[in-house]
């Protein structure tokens, strides 16, 4: 029940295209859903996060879509750029993010010219 399932495992997108990564959770106590970006040899860095009182949050080229009834959320990267090539992790937490993070398995995104 604590798991967060993430797909796909890897994704190749052409420059300028839309990258979409999906996550699903089971624990209804989760109330905070961040996405982390990780470059090789670096720690995860918070990209964008959403709480379940909204269905969508947009920051620049990054959008989280959230479906509370389906217990699913996704990251959309518009106009994908080579600099977006990284591993992306979805995560979930409770107490509005003040509890430990449960991470998805990660998606290795490669943007090709």
């Amino acid at each position: 029940q604590q798991q967060v399932k993430q797909s796909p495992q890897s994704l190749i997108v052409q420059k300028g295209g839309i990258s979409i990564i999906n996550c699903a959770y089971e624990n209804t106590a989760f109330d905070y859903f961040p996405w982390y970006q990780q470059f090789p040899g670096k720690g995860p860095a918070l990209l964008i996060a959403i709480r379940p009182d909204v269905s969508e949050k947009k920051e620049g080229r990054f959008t989280i879509s959230f479906n509370k009834s389906a217990k699913q959320f996704s990251l959309h990267i518009m106009d994908s750029q080579p600099g977006d090539s990284a591993t992306y992790f979805c995560a979930a937490s409770s107490d509005f993010g003040n509890e430990k993070l449960t991470f998805g398995t990660g998606t290795r995104l490669t943007i090709i010219p």
């Binding site: 720690g43 995860p44 918070l46 509890e99």
Partner: protein
Amino acid sequence: EPEVTQTPSHQVTQMGQEVILRCVPISNHLYFYWYRQILGQKVEFLVSFYNNEISEKSEIFDDQFSVERPDGSNFTLKIRSTKLEDSAMYFCASLRIAEAFFGQGTRLTVV
């Protein structure tokens, strides 16, 4: 911008030896965490620390592991007798109002 600092960046140790991984969290943060990431796998929670005591630990965090905040600023993870399967990246994180900031990690290699 303040950041979480971890040392060393890479530690190689023989099986059975003790290692101490060090972290300096962001100064006004109150919650501290250790996570680990085995190569190519997901980031896994180890332990959380608040108000100078462990608030939660995972099943991975067995008696071989301990955490301390010895001087009010540093936050350490000790592995008493390392095993080959302890080889991983270890990340420290500190939390401010729901946003967790991660350090660069320590790559631990047990040989």
